[in-house]
């Protein structure tokens, strides 16, 4: 195993954190750097100490591994983060191409497989993946398990929310726990799982509270904070760190709302983010806010929860319910109706001027663009910009190319808004 890349990435991340921390004033930003770095430090520590690591795809609940005293690590996002920290995009993607992964699949998964081909990824005790998100998510975990020749568990998820679906998914979580018990000889500590789920319920409550607070004009939250919250939720679900993060962000946002101040000084346009923006940089969003006062005030796929509550006393069902209520799974899984209705509702509740859909290279979720765009135009009266981009490859469409599209859109929205206010 060659862990040098992982170690280098974590070192770079620590360096960045040390460099940034003294400069940032916002407590949210501070907490983000600390928690994000400590997540990877924990994995590094586990590697060094030989603690058992559970590699899992996004949406597989880390609460289970925490309750069984294992160190969870996300597969796709961690590979991606390590690549961002070392800027080895090309190397990771070329490696996976050399392995036979064609270009017609999403770069996040190509990078993930590149890390596994090169043995960069920490060797886990087991891999847990699930069919949430897309077919690449469903399949790439199996390829990774093949490469590392390690036991894997596929967690089956129903396509859409239903009572029957909740029951089935809860049973699947039960099977997952049996699998982990069998592979590791550990026993599930059910009390600990319940405690974890109580924290998850608390995190969810805070998450929803923040979503409510964000309806204020001017908007109290930076768009990068929204994405940070989303990642923090899935990295730290069920942990005290997770509760800490959401408390800090809630307090920050609430204070701003009470004082009537916005996250940016001169808010001019309120935008709705419809899909995952490129994950290698938030330069774009910062630039839009700074130069044009254009701010994403809500994100359909990460800030709209379903209505059902999570009951920690029945942890398996709680995990299933959380899965169905969580914003990303709610949008991407199931028919496009939730995605569309959430977005229409958001336009009204968050007083949105325009929407942006990030059409990720090779992402078949782009199949929803037409329906979403038409619905937002007909039922919410706002235009949608479709930006061609790539989730992880900064060279596919450059930041400058995206800026050009966004600039044109901002110009149209500004004219529209000026005309309406006249």
């Amino acid at each position: 195993m060659d862990h040098s890349l992982w170690l280098e990435a974590v070192k770079n991340l620590e360096g960045l954190t040390n460099h940034v921390l003294p400069k940032v004033k916002s407590s949210g930003e501070k907490a983000y750097y600390e928690l994000y770095t400590s997540y990877f430090q924990k994995v590094t520590q586990a590697m060094v100490e030989g603690k058992e690591i559970a590699a899992h795809s996004t949406f597989v609940p880390p609460e289970i591994f925490h309750a069984m005293d294992m160190v969870p690590v996300l597969i796709v996002s961690s590979s991606g983060a390590m690549t961002v920290c070392t800027r080895n995009y090309k190397d990771a993607m070329d490696t996976s191409r050399g392995y036979g992964v064609p270009l017609e699949t999403c770069s996040a998964h190509r990078i993930q497989l590149g890390h596994f081909v090169k043995d960069w990824f920490p060797k886990p005790k087991l891999i847990v993946h699930m069919g949430a998100g897309c077919d690449a998510f469903s399949s790439s975990g199996g390829v990774s398990a093949d490469m590392y020749d390690c036991p894997d568990f596929y967690l089956d998820v129903p396509w859409e929310y239903s009572k029957r679906g909740v029951k089935y998914l809860a049973e699947e979580f039960g099977r997952l726990i049996e699998f982990v018990e069998k592979e590791t000889g550990r026993k599930m500590d059910w009390d600990r799982l319940k405690e974890n789920m109580a924290r998850t319920a608390e995190m969810t409550r805070l998450y929803r509270e923040i979503a409510e607070l964000r309806k204020a004009v001017p908007s109290p939250m930076e768009s990068r904070r929204a994405w940070q919250s989303y990642w923090m939720y899935w990295i730290n679900a069920g942990t005290p760190e997770g509760v800490r993060w959401f408390t800090i962000v809630r307090d920050e946002v609430k204070a701003r709302v009470e004082k009537g101040i916005g996250a940016i000084p001169n808010e001019k346009l309120r935008l709705l983010d419809l899909f995952m923006p490129p994950q290698f940089s938030f330069r774009l969003q910062d630039w839009m806010a700074k130069d044009y006062g254009a701010l994403f005030v809500s994100e359909s796929i990460v800030f709209h929860w379903g209505e059902e509550e999570i009951d920690p006393s029945n942890p398996l069902e709680a995990l299933a319910m959380r899965y169905f209520m969580a914003p990303m799974t709610r949008c991407i899984m199931g028919s496009s109706k939730d995605f569309i209705n959430d977005s229409i509702k958001a336009v009204k509740e968050y007083k949105v001027d325009g929407a942006v859909f990030w059409a990720q290279n090779a992402c078949r979720q782009a199949g929803i663009i037409r329906s979403l765009k038409d619905a937002l135009s007909e039922q919410a009266g706002i235009p949608t910009l479709v930006v061609d981009c790539d989730i992880m490859d900064p060279t596919f469409v450059t930041v400058e190319e995206m800026q050009l599209r966004l600039k044109d859109f901002i110009e149209i929205l500004s004219e529209r808004k000026a005309r309406r206010s006249n």
């Binding site: 392995y99 036979g100 992964v101 064609p102 017609e104 699949t105 069919g131 897309c134 077919d135 690449a136 469903s138 399949s139 790439s140 199996g142 390829v143 093949d146 596929y154 089956d156 129903p158 396509w159 859409e160 239903s162 029957r164 679906g165 029951k167 089935y168 049973e171 699947e172 099977r175 028919s335 496009s336 059409a359 290279n361 090779a362 992402c363 078949r364 979720q365 782009a366 199949g367 929803i368 663009i369 037409r370 329906s371 038409d374």
Partner: protein
């Protein structure tokens, strides 16, 4: 190659009439309902028991411009789905009384949404399917099946009886048994039927009542058995990958000195290799549920080993010299499946080739070059023993 089998003519005639072939026309004229489906693993037995004619939707057997479809389904959706949508947008699927799908793959799921929103269709049905064959999955799937039957019954105002279900099961099992017979003939040293011809049979099967189809298929088998037709086998290949329907694609491969003797296609061996239990003391719907859960799995099903073992077993039974996987661009399930499967073939000393395709393609120049070199490579390996 020797004269084409005479009994194939009716199938080829039907295929020429795609997408509104005369058996469908006649069915409609006699007042029958027609339900189109896409995606995969559709329990046609239920649709048939509800009195409807199930039609497996596909695109044309040629690469056509997909400009209308592109404006509804982004180009990152595979051209298989966009080809079907193009036909629907042109109105050539207007004869359908309903459309059905499952959460089969990203493409089919988003296509169902587009169909729901933009294509005028009297009824839409969606059956939720699990990815596993655990007892819990079976229970979940069974309840979904029941729900699906109820929605069918209320839409068409017709009860789906046990008798009708058993009848449909027997009819569809008959097809499976016939295909098994046909494939047994392909195990011979000089198979009497080519892969391209088998593709014609599959294509036609999607557009006609199953009972009629069985009669015609039986005739093909009789002729294939008795006609003393021995195709010069060359090298024995298996085809795999995204559902493909163009016989010209298979013919292009075979014309280069090979014969396709087996497949692991969704619109091929995946559909007939396993029979539904005909034990009439049980619940027919449960029998159907179990069948679709446990049959030859598509790449979406886990654990993948079940599928890989089945394919490797076929490779052995049919004495395969090489495997060709056609992957339509952006078809994620097969992209990842091929990566794992080809490594397993390699381990057994069977070479494999991946072809990047667009739906509808015949074997074009570049494909031919790859296939010919692949066959030459097989030849070398054989020569050396």
């Amino acid at each position: 190659m020797s004269q084409i089998l005479k009994t194939l003519t009716p199938f080829m005639e039907i295929n020429k009439e795609f997408p509104f072939a005369s058996p469908i026309k006649e069915w409609k004229q006699s007042g029958g309902k027609v339900i189109g489906f896409f995606g995969g693993d559709i329990p046609e037995e239920i649709l048939s028991a509800a009195g409807a004619l199930p039609v497996w939707l596909r695109g044309h057997c040629s690469e056509i411009p997909l400009d209308d479809a592109n404006s509804y389904l982004h180009i990152y959706t595979c051209s298989h789905m966009r080809s079907i949508l193009e036909i629907a947008l042109k109105g050539d699927y207007n004869y359908l009384d309903g459309v059905m799908s499952t959460p089969y793959c990203d493409g089919s799921r988003r296509m169902f949404d587009v169909w729901d929103r933009y294509i005028p269709i009297p009824a839409l049905f969606f059956l939720h399917t699990p990815h596993k064959n655990t007892p819990e999955a079976e229970a979940y799937y069974y309840e979904n099946m029941k729900e699906f039957v109820t929605s069918l019954e209320s839409t068409f105002q017709k009860k789906v009886t046990k008798e009708a279900l058993w009848d449909a099961i027997k009819t569809y099992n008959q097809t499976r048994k016939l295909f098994i017979q046909l494939y047994d003939l392909r195990k011979k040293d000089n198979p009497p039927i080519s892969g391209a011809e088998v593709m014609e049979i599959y294509d036609a099967s999607a557009m006609m009542p199953r009972k009629d189809f069985n009669i015609l298929l039986e005739k093909v088998i009789d002729e294939a058995k008795t006609a003393d037709r021995k195709l010069d086998s060359g090298h024995r290949l298996m085809i795999n990958g995204t559902a493909l329907h163009n016989p010209e694609y298979v013919k292009g491969i075979e014309d280069l000195g090979s014969i396709v003797v087996a497949d692991s296609l969704l619109n091929g061996a995946m559909g007939f290799s396993d029979l539904i239990s005909e034990d009439e003391n049980t619940d027919p719907l449960l029998a159907i549920t179990r069948h679709y859960l446990n049959k030859f799995p598509a790449p979406r099903m886990v654990p993948s080993e079940i599928r890989f073992d089945k394919i490797l077993q076929m490779a052995e039974d049919f004495r395969i010299d090489g495997m060709i996987t056609g992957v339509v661009r952006y078809c994620a399930p097969h992209i990842y499946d091929e990566i794992r499967l080809s490594k397993r073939f390699e381990a057994r000393g069977i070479p494999s080739l991946r072809l990047d395709l667009e739906y509808g393609m015949a074997a074009t120049g570049q494909i031919k070059t790859r296939v010919q070199a692949f066959i030459e490579m097989i030849e070398e390996r054989k020569r050396k023993g």
